[in-house]
């Protein structure tokens, strides 16, 4: 356990210059990495894909050991923990009943208001095959990748709440950046009050909250959910609870425990553009006026014909088969004397 017994090789010489050059190279690498953050990404994804079978093979026997070592601390307070869980379970059962009643009420209100329902979420179930808990990076590796439809940016949740986001995908593996990671930024909503904020990880166990408005007041116990801003994450994903930071500000105690999650879901959320409702024949002005709707016609290019005698330019009947918006556009379109609209109207037939 000593270095004293070793003779030092002295004939190396001139090490200072290479150190300076290599240090410059390392700094250049840092700057390039800052400008192009995905410098290593494709290679990393390839290596992870290649190592995935080994990860799965090694992970299986170690999972039990992992859980056992992680639970050593809880052995000494099993009794108190059991009492606390029973109490919590009783309260959660009450909340469960309340949630069922409120969910039913919300559905009835949505039905009465003809509200647009929340988009359905699909998800990809994945198993955690690796975790990297480094001082400057907190990630996990999943056994689902591009082949399963996983894409960067998608949210990762477990049974309790959100864990993180996908930031790198291989063919059969994906890297998750945890909510606690330094590089994690998630737009969130704090309830009650619909307060918007950005939840930022800083490698501590509880991410901090950057409020978007200075005129709001938070209090410990408020609920934090994803806001859905940006369209990558669905709104309303449970994230955590607000607590006061002793150093000022507020932090979020996460509901999910990424260290113990084994099976997760990658939420596939595609925010579809909201489409106006389709026009039915009953919505047409002619029908509303009690007239029979015109038969739909295939659009044809009409030859240039002179305007009907006695019809002032621009005052002819609008094609009734077009949606109101098109009608308005047609009405606004200036008509050249002697030239009719390219689309023949019903009155010409």
């Amino acid at each position: 356990m000593a270095n004293g017994g070793w003779r030092i090789a002295r004939n190396r010489g001139g090490a200072q210059l290479p150190i300076v050059l290599l240090a410059a190279l390392a700094i250049a690498l840092i700057l390039i990495g800052k400008a192009q953050s995905n410098l290593f990404d494709s290679a990393r994804a390839g290596v992870t894909d290649w190592a995935a079978p080994a990860l799965q093979a090694v992970r299986a026997p170690l999972a039990g050991l992992d859980r056992w070592t992680a639970s050593i601390g809880s052995i000494f307070n099993v009794y108190e923990e059991n009492l606390r869980l029973k109490d919590e379970n009783a309260r959660l059962r009450q909340w469960h009943n309340v949630a069922i009643v409120l969910d039913d009420r919300v559905k009835r209100y949505q039905l009465l208001l003809h509200a647009v329902p929340d988009p359905a979420l699909s998800s990809v179930a994945a198993r955690v095959i690796g975790r990297a808990n480094r001082p400057f990076l907190q990630t996990m590796i999943l056994d689902a990748g591009k082949a399963q439809g996983v894409k960067p940016g998608q949210g990762v949740i477990d049974a309790r709440g959100m864990i993180g986001r996908i930031f790198l995908t291989g063919d059969h593996t994906a890297w998750v950046i945890l909510l606690t990671d330094l590089n994690s930024r998630v737009p969130v909503t704090i309830e009650p009050g619909n307060i918007q904020a950005i939840m930022a990880g800083d490698n501590s166990g509880a991410p901090s909250l950057d409020l978007l408005s200075q005129n709001v007041r938070l209090k410990a116990g408020d609920q934090v959910v994803s806001s859905g801003d940006g369209g990558l994450l669905p709104p309303g994903l449970a994230i955590g609870t607000v607590v006061a930071d002793p150093n000022g500000g507020f932090r979020v105690v996460l509901l999910a425990d990424a260290a113990s999650s084994e099976d997760v879901n990658v939420v596939d959320f595609k925010l579809k553009a909201e489409q106006p409702p389709a026009v039915s024949p009953n919505d047409l002005p002619a029908t509303a006026a009690g007239l029979p709707p015109a038969a739909p016609q295939a659009p044809v290019v009409a030859p240039l014909v002179p305007a009907l005698p006695g019809t002032a330019p621009g005052t002819g009947p609008l094609p009734s088969a077009l949606p109101p918006a098109t009608q308005a556009a047609g009405a606004a379109k200036p008509q050249t004397p002697g030239v009719t609209d390219a689309t023949p109207d019903a009155g010409d037939q």
């Binding site: 356990m1 000593a2 270095n3 004293g4 017994g5 070793w6 003779r7 030092i8 090789a9 002295r10 004939n11 190396r12 090490a15 290479p18 150190i19 290599l22 240090a23 190279l25 390392a26 700094i27 250049a28 690498l29 840092i30 700057l31 390039i32 990495g33 800052k34 953050s37 410098l39 290593f40 290679a43 990393r44 290596v47 990860l55 090694v58 992970r59 170690l62 050991l65 992992d66 070592t69 992680a70 639970s71 690796g130 975790r131 990297a132 808990n133 480094r134 001082p135 400057f136 990076l137 990630t139 996990m140 590796i141 890297w175 330094l182 590089n183 800083d202 490698n203 501590s204 260290a259």
Partner: protein
């Protein structure tokens, strides 16, 4: 002729062994499986051979290999590139300047010497990442990694000593 080839092969093996141990350490430390439930960060296994042979055989563990091991650490850890490369070089600079003093340490002193070099690497990485993200990071994780690294080095140095005696050996020109 066969013996000459064997000797040359053995010499080649012994000359690349320190670097190979560094690469192996980087692979093991960054293998994404936690043995302790994610309580603490894994030790900087790649830094241990870098320190040990950076003192006793700097002709085998050159600044270039310090840079390579750092880049490998960056690549495997998933962090921004160049951080550990620069940090290992900063620690190597200290080792290079204080080689005589560090090589003369023994017992607890040798561990303290390693701890100082590892501290230089950790503080460098902490400073670089803090500037990189323009925020002051919590110190606890990096200090945890430093503590685990120093504890593991107490046992690793015995292995390195045995490997050095049996396989690597001192530089021939030193005799």
């Amino acid at each position: 002729m066969e013996r000459v080839g064997s000797i040359m092969g053995g010499r080649l093996l012994s000359s690349i062994l320190p670097v190979m141990l560094g690469i192996l350490g980087s692979l093991v430390a960054n293998f994404p499986v936690s043995f302790v439930g994610g309580w603490v960060s894994p030790p900087m296994l790649a830094f241990m051979p870098l320190y040990f042979w950076g003192i006793v055989r700097p002709d085998l563990m050159t600044p270039f290999w310090a840079f390579v091991l750092g880049v490998l650490e960056d690549f495997l850890s998933g962090g921004p590139p160049g951080v550990w490369a620069a940090s290992f070089l900063a620690a190597y600079f200290v080792i290079d300047r204080q080689r005589d003093m560090l090589a003369g340490l023994s017992g607890i002193g040798a561990i303290v010497g390693f701890a100082v070099a590892a501290l230089v690497a950790c503080v460098s990485a902490y400073a670089i990442v803090s500037v990189y993200n323009w925020t002051l990071l919590p110190l606890a994780p990096v200090m945890g990694e430093l503590a685990v690294t120093v504890i593991v080095y107490v046992f690793a140095v015995m292995v390195f000593g045995a490997v050095h005696r049996r396989l690597v050996g001192p530089l021939r020109s030193d005799f």
